[in-house]
């Protein structure tokens, strides 16, 4: 009796991306990275504007 592979079993070598899939995934990753970086800078600026030097002026 031959063992049948499970239906959803992935090929042993893994999923190979086509060049188009790799290109679009890379573009998405870069866009997410840029967006995260932008929001880090924005939230830092907002903190400075809203709290300013008073950030150190609080009870410990």
């Amino acid at each position: 009796m031959v063992n049948q592979p499970a239906q959803n079993e992935r090929p042993p070598e893994g999923i190979k991306l086509t060049p188009e899939q790799e290109k679009s995934r890379r573009a998405r990753n870069i866009a997410i990275g840029l967006a995260v970086g932008f929001f880090v800078v924005l939230f830092y600026a907002i903190t400075v504007v809203k709290v300013g030097p008073a950030v150190f002026n609080r009870p410990l």
Binding site: I15, S24, R25, A27, R28, I30, A31, L42, I46, V49
Partner: protein, 313 residues
């Protein structure tokens, strides 16, 4: 099986070919730019000074909230978008983004934009933004759009809220001046959309959307376009009469209002049939195109004159 479940079931494990531009298209960038513009007017009309970083962030949050509504609208309307020529190249019907991906994207951006606005400005503005998203997605897209020819009249409120949200972000309150800006966009929406609906009535008919020309007929639509424009033209002058816009704005609002009125009268008078089909369609097309210019002009004057006075010129 619905379009959405069909598409999601088809290819759950596929690897997306969608680029950042396709996700950006989900946000309806053209609508978003109009939202940013009208919100900027609301921000500038508000009394008092606002830090530019906070002002920029408030506008960004409003823009992201508007984009999120667009993504959720495209998720829900994917079935009809696939049929209409104007919308069949959108990312979901084009097969670039799965409906569930658009849903997750829209929900994440909705929550993100509301909390960002609330934390950076105040929770009245955040509540108004949340209500705007809810109104556009649930009240307009899911309920009114497919059930009544008054869909864009009531749904138009969603597009009219941004100046009010921005005003609330700047002041923490709602005033008569922000309500006037709301009212201008609210009354502008029906003649703008019905001019387009007159041209695309066959497509709306094909997908079962009860737009005014399909339900009450083109002649009744022309009458309603005219009536709304008769209300709109004097309403647009109110910011000058109330004193939060200059006489220059008043002159622009009066002259552009008369032009809008003339085009609406032409749409009303030139009916299809007796060899005038082309002329009638041209009249509707001109009204649709001019309505965009009209709203842009009104808000551009408000933005420019308030920017100039804030910069101290």
């Amino acid at each position: 099986m619905s379009y959405v479940s069909e598409q999601n079931g088809l290819d759950q494990a596929r690897i997306s070919l969608a680029g950042p531009g396709d996700y950006f298209a989900l946000l309806k960038p053209r609508v978003m730019s109009l939202v940013v513009f009208t919100a900027l007017a609301g921000l500038l009309v508000a009394p008092g000074q606002m830090n530019p970083v906070i002002g920029f962030t408030a506008l960004l949050a409003i823009a992201i909230g508007a984009g999120a509504s667009g993504a959720l609208n495209m998720w829900y309307d994917a079935d009809i978008d696939a049929v209409m020529t104007r919308t069949r190249t959108r990312p979901i019907p084009a097969g670039l983004i799965l409906p569930n991906e658009a849903l997750a994207f829209g929900l994440f951006l909705s929550v993100f934009s509301v909390f960002m606005l609330g934390l950076v400005t105040n929770w009245l503005a955040a509540g108004l933004l949340a209500f705007t998203i809810f109104f556009y997605v649930v009240v307009y897209t899911m309920w009114l759009k497919r059930s009544t020819p008054q869909n864009i009249v009531i749904g138009g409120a969603a597009g009219a809220f941004p100046p009010m949200v921005a005003y609330a972000a700047a002041t923490g309150s709602v005033s008569l001046s922000s309500l006037v800006l709301f009212a201008i966009i609210f009354v502008w929406t029906p003649p703008h959309f019905w001019a387009l609906a007159l041209l695309k009535s066959k497509e709306y008919q094909a997908v079962g959307i009860p737009m005014m020309p399909n339900v009450k007929g083109p002649d009744h639509t022309r009458l309603e376009i005219l009536l709304y424009t008769i209300v709109l033209a004097p309403l647009a002058v109110v910011p000058w009469l109330m004193g939060f816009a200059s006489p220059v704005y008043g002159a622009v609002a009066i002259s552009a209002g008369l032009a809008m009125l003339a085009l609406a009268v032409r749409v009303f008078c030139v009916r299809r049939g007796q060899g005038r089909d082309e002329e009638s369609d041209r009249a509707a097309k001109q009204l649709f195109a001019f309505s965009i210019v009209y709203l842009f002009l009104l808000f551009a004057v408000i933005v420019v004159e308030n920017s100039v006075s804030r910069l101290g010129f």
